[in-house]
């Protein structure tokens, strides 16, 4: 497997973006020049400083850096998860949103926000996994899972968990309600090191796990019978992919809310850019998915003097892209 120049570019893309994103923000007190000289000073390149040291330090280290890391992790998690699920269900139309995972995790997270005794990450994971499992088993008809039944099952399961979420919102006190509503919009504005520490372990663990499974996804993507014929148990392989994929996506939903369309649209971009071969597509999903969300987040921070929730943005970008794919008939929808 040789690496082409394009792939090398994609691999290196996150570095300048991660660094560049530190300069972006709605703050009028801290300018990008201030950040620049602060970085030079921190690296002992220059001693010049014309800014409020403590303020810039706080903005960069406690606000922007955790946010940039969280955004990258979230984007990487949703894209890798979406990519894996598309291979697993042999269906370029599925994603954490469509299978009800996001609604399930959102319900679980809202529940955990309301009932302090429930731990956030495990509850979101359990509900997300339950949602995907329900969608899948609802869709199985005589051992066959068709595109249409999977999507319909996802719609139903999403609906059930969304009404669960609404019920939680209805019953909770107004103070918590505000937190939940903001968070379901897909919001990263209150990123903190605490959130990074909560989301990073499941995302990194799931990512490493999926990385080892990346070629198995190619095998599985050919069909159950074809997988069995070469000596793998398709059901076992599906669980070995579904669990880490769910772990990653629910961890990101738990800290960042529902960020729609990333898990569906970005894996398509990745496959178009590199190859449908998951040996290449999966690592690129991680790096490009993270980078993609970083750029979107930079826009959501820089476009207005206030912050636009990122979930609104990703859906506005993902929607038209999705329509473009439908028109190009990439999904082979209805041709089984």
């Amino acid at each position: 497997m040789s690496i082409t120049a394009k792939e090398l570019l994609l691999y290196l893309l996150p570095l300048p973006l991660l660094l560049g994103s530190l300069f972006v923000g709605p703050s009028e007190v801290v300018s990008s020049q201030d950040v620049f000289s602060w970085i030079l000073r921190s690296l002992h390149i220059s001693t010049l400083h014309t800014y409020d040291e403590a303020l810039v330090n706080a903005v960069v280290m406690d606000v922007r850096l955790p946010r940039v890391i969280l955004v990258f992790l979230t984007g990487a998690a949703l894209t890798m998860s979406g990519n894996s699920m598309q291979a697993l269900f042999r269906n370029p139309l599925v994603s954490p949103d469509i299978l009800g995972l996001s609604s399930g995790a959102a319900f679980g997270a809202a529940l955990a926000l309301t009932i302090p005794a429930l731990p956030l990450q495990p509850t979101a994971f359990a509900c997300g996994l339950a949602a995907v499992g329900m969608s899948y088993f609802l869709a199985v008809n005589r051992k066959v899972v068709s595109t249409v039944s999977l999507i319909l099952a996802g719609v139903i399961v999403s609906g059930i968990f969304t009404s669960g979420l609404t019920l939680v919102q209805f019953l909770t006190d107004p103070f918590k309600l505000q937190t939940i509503v903001h968070w379901t919009m897909g919001n990263l504005h209150n990123a903190s090191w605490k959130k990074v520490v909560s989301a990073a372990p499941p995302i990194i663990l799931g990512g490493i796990w999926l990385y080892f499974m990346r070629w198995r996804m190619n095998v599985l993507a050919l069909g159950d019978e074809e997988t069995m014929a070469v000596g793998l148990n398709p059901e076992r392989e599906k669980i070995l992919i579904l669990v880490p994929a769910t772990l990653m996506a629910t961890a990101s939903v738990a800290v960042a809310g529902v960020i729609g369309m990333v898990g569906l649209a970005v894996p398509h971009m990745v496959r178009m850019m590199v190859s449908p071969d998951n040996r290449k597509a999966l690592p690129v999903s991680c790096l490009f998915g993270g980078s993609f969300l970083l750029v979107v987040d930079d826009f959501s921070r820089a476009l207005a003097s206030f912050e636009i929730p990122i979930g609104i943005f990703t859906t506005l970008i993902g929607g038209p892209f999705f329509i473009y794919l439908l028109k190009k008939n990439v999904f082979r929808f209805g041709e089984e």
Binding site: A221, L222, R279
Partner: protein, 251 residues
């Protein structure tokens, strides 16, 4: 014996699909399974491949009971070519063939696996289309790719469910000659075939299935006898003597 099937019974829910099937297949032979649609040909193949669980009886492959073999061990002995295949992602031909190595691979295939996959493509004669997207191939070309994938598995026994369907005459002869090459290298090939004429021209042994049971050929009769074929296919047909065997014609 390469394959030893004894008193095999199988059914979905209440219905019997195969009843008391006993057969032996010697190594290095090309064995054709013939019979009407729904007579249990594909089911028999899937049972030997270990993809379905039988009710009673036994199947041994090269002296080993298949129920005691692990999936991956079984896949190294038996290659199975499914009947139809719908592609979902535009993988290249080389990537599809490489998946045949799954039972030998821990996480990602190594160079040795890629070389074996390359050899399999050369053997089938599809190395020229290695970088083409599998989704853009014709049905016949896809079939050749799946055959290369089975060979990449390096099995001792190859089971093929209608390997000639969707193929034009040129590709049919390519596949049949390839099967000959495999059997002369010591592999055992069992294939479900539709056309008895092709079977008589190329195969070494014949298995007839009728309504889930073996149709045993009486002493003195031969597989290409009119009486046998009329009984197996349940349709009027005539046979014309040809090169010591016979050609079958519908009438």
């Amino acid at each position: 014996m390469a394959i030893d099937v004894r008193a095999l019974n199988f059914g979905y829910r209440g219905d019997d699909v195969l009843r008391n099937v006993t057969l032996y297949a010697p190594a290095g032979k090309f064995i054709a399974i013939l019979g009407k649609n729904g007579s249990g040909k594909s089911t028999l193949l899937k049972l030997i491949a270990g993809m379905l669980e039988f009710r009673s009886g036994s199947i041994s492959i090269l002296g080993q009971d298949i129920t005691r073999l692990h999936r991956s061990q079984r896949a190294r002995l038996i290659g199975y070519l499914p009947q139809f295949h719908t592609p979902y992602f535009p993988f290249t031909v080389a990537e599809v063939v490489l998946t045949g190595r799954a039972s030998h691979v821990f996480s990602v295939p190594r160079r040795q696996d890629r070389e074996i996959a390359d050899r399999a493509m050369t053997e089938v004669g599809i190395e020229g289309m290695r970088n083409r997207p599998y989704t853009e191939l014709s049905g016949g070309e896809r079939h050749l790719v799946m055959i290369a994938r089975v060979l990449a598995q390096e099995p001792r026994i190859v089971l093929m469910d209608e390997p000639l369907s969707h193929l034009d005459l040129h590709n049919q002869s390519r596949v049949l000659n390839l099967i000959r090459k495999l059997t002369s290298a010591g592999l055992t090939v069992i294939a479900v075939l539709h056309d008895p004429n092709t079977a008589f021209a190329y195969a070494d042994e014949f298995i007839f299935l009728k309504d889930g049971s073996l149709r045993i050929i009486e002493a003195g009769a031969r597989p290409w006898d009119q009486m046998v074929l009329v009984d197996v296919y349940g349709t009027p047909l005539e046979t014309i003597p040809y090169k010591g065997k016979a050609l079958v014609m519908l009438v």
